[in-house]
């Protein structure tokens, strides 16, 4: 029973050190040096109103907006309080049907040819803010028509909102859907 005292005291001390001092120190330094990131990388619209985080996607279904990836979060897509994926198995009939429905919805807007997988397959977090440049390009005619914009000018806007690979070689080029749509709304 000699070990009882260290067992209890170590729990108390490690709780104070690892559960109190450590996160407090990290929070202090992080907010001093990276205040924007530490608080969620929030973004504002043209009227300087906080409208979300540049890291967290939002649901779009209107023709005048670019659409993001499908999201499997509960209640509605891109619900930040319910992050998660569909967890559908690759042979699940319900999943195959859901993808077929999404393909059809895109075909109905006039899309022909192959469909990039990211636009019809749900993300892991359900909050993925990005789509591929191919998926954005495929939506340009629809958005241009809904907003009466020149497709070429819209294409340039998409290009401006395409993030390259980090440090030039990490990850994939990608388009932040919320940022692009906010820029579209700010045009007027």
């Amino acid at each position: 029973m000699k070990e009882i005292r260290p067992a209890i005291m170590m729990l108390v001390l490690f709780t104070v050190i690892c559960g109190g001092i450590y996160p407090a120190v990290v929070t202090g330094i992080a907010n001093a040096f990276f205040p924007k990131q530490a608080k969620g990388s929030m973004v504002a619209d043209a009227g300087n109103r906080q409208v979300g985080s540049s890291l967290i996607g939002q649901p779009f279904s209107d023709n005048k907006y670019f659409w993001g990836r499908p999201s499997a979060t509960t209640d509605f897509g891109y619900n930040p309080m319910a992050s998660g994926g569909s967890n559908s198995g690759p042979t699940n009939p319900d999943f195959i049907k859901a993808v077929a429905d999404r393909v059809k919805a895109l075909r109905d807007t006039g899309v022909t040819g192959g469909i990039p997988a990211d636009l019809v397959e749900a993300s892991a977090s359900g909050l993925d803010p990005h789509i591929t440049p191919e998926s954005a390009a495929l939506q340009i005619p629809r958005v241009a028509k809904a907003r009466s914009l020149d497709p070429a000018a819209l294409g340039r806007m998409v290009a401006e909102h395409t993030e390259g690979r980090q440090l030039g070689f990490l990850g994939e080029p990608r388009v932040n859907v919320l940022a692009l749509n906010l820029a579209l709304d700010a045009l007027k």
């Binding site: 001390l13 209107d62 569909s86």
Partner: protein, 594 residues
Amino acid sequence: MNSYEWLETILFFVVLLALVKPLGAFMAKVYQGERTFLSPVLVPCENLVYRLCGVKRDEEMGWQRYAWAMVLFNLVLFAALFAMLMLQHLLPLNPQKVPAFGWQLALNTAISFVTNTNWQAYSGETAASYFTQMVGLAVHNFVSAATGMAVVIALIRGFARRRTSLLGNFWVDMTRGTLYILLPISVVGALFLVSQGVIQNFGDYKTVPLVQAVTYDKPKLDAKGNALKDAKGNPVTESVTAKEVTIPMGPVASQEVIKELGTNGGGFFNANSAHPFENPTPLSHYFEILLILLIPGALTYTFGVMVGNTRQGWALLGVMLFIALLSFGVLQGVEASGNPLLAKLGVQGANLEGKELRFSLPGTNLFEVATTGTSCGAVTAMHDSLTPLGGMIPLSLILLGEVVFGGVGSGLYTMLAFAVIAVFVSGLMIGRTPEYLGKKIEVREMWMSMVTILAAGVVVLITSGIAMITPAAVSSMSNPGAHGLSQVLYAFASMANNNGSAFAGLNANVDFFNLLGSLAMTVGRYLPAVAVLAMAGSLAGKKYVPPSLGTLPTDKAPFAIWLTLVILIVGALTFFPALALGPIVEHLTMLGGN
């Protein structure tokens, strides 16, 4: 893979291997009680801890006392965490007014975090307060990692020492492991993650307006909160319009870093490392993979230093690296070729269901290999949505006993148990005396190694079998057919091997999984750990046998190849029938177009 993908993958392994020697040498110093560059700051803290705990730092323990201290400490940790989860609603730092856990879920969660499993049957955003996450769960991420490291260090001392019964002091190993290794890396790592966009605050959840409001069907609830059903038994819904959403906040970075560094894996949020607030950029992604593999990789060098021959450590690292690259290659191949059932619909490209776009495909696959080759269990892709053969890779890595780098401590001690078996079997085959690192391998070492290797496997097969004949378990499967079996097999493999990842469609928050899973996690953690300490005690008492012509060299390539084969053969013999009925059947069905 394109040239960028090759570049990032190769560079990752270069960085990892470059860190093995410096960190491994540093850890050897820490556990041998030598001075390090952190000593001026940390020695006073360390001495204060010993004074408050009544620990005499030079008082060494035999294996029984070491094991007893470990088990007793874990019991105390469990009791404290269980109580905290049950009393969550009364404790501070709970801006969202989250209620207490039910006892079954609290039991499962407390055991899960104490055993370094971090199986999560709850959802972080809605079920856990800041206090629970930070003062409860994150602390256990440190302590359970330090426990695993202490056990492997005791085993290494068993190999290195001669004719003694003493293996070191458990409390000193715990303290030094936490203060010198886990905490400093965590502080630096957490700040780096924040710079990439991982959040770190104690603010209220933020409510923001949606750019485009969404209308959806919400199930109607009665006064008790149960879903209402109409006469036909269908749920009654009402149309609701959401004009704003709530974005969760919290001290994420400080927890994210130790979750990976300690191969714990319990996410702050439900989506784990796929969540943009846990893992916002490609750089944070590779950094997190590095954190997962860092200590398990470097421990092989620590082992080499402490037994006096670093090539012994490199041989083990070579085995780990080989199996990791093999698994990565297969996973990358099958995921890149996409889902043939969707290709028929005109969908192009890799399988992206349950994956995030900001990480490249090889980056995602590397994370999944790292997280299941170790006992981490954090995910950036949903394993349930991998292609059938793709999903078999993480499952197999877990079933092999998590020795491909392995959990902090637990991976290396399981690997050393495999090495003992390999030495013994080869000894039988070629008529040489089985010796490893100058210690004769005898009946006791064989028993303890077999227990270490087979404990989790036996638990997985028995519990999965029970689940298959239990209606409550079968109704938890979210996917039909062979994939449902994979979900259950994965769940028990994950819990018994203390991984914590899941085929997450499975509804695991039911009494069956909470209770049987608690048992699987406990047996899978402590039976091997105590067996390892028993083996350490027996080894330490033996005399040193100098290598002779009759000794099998264990620091050379032939032994590494042989060890790889032993690991793969033991895994295949134990689990092939179960894997054939799950992922392999599903793969054939998919190719058949059904």
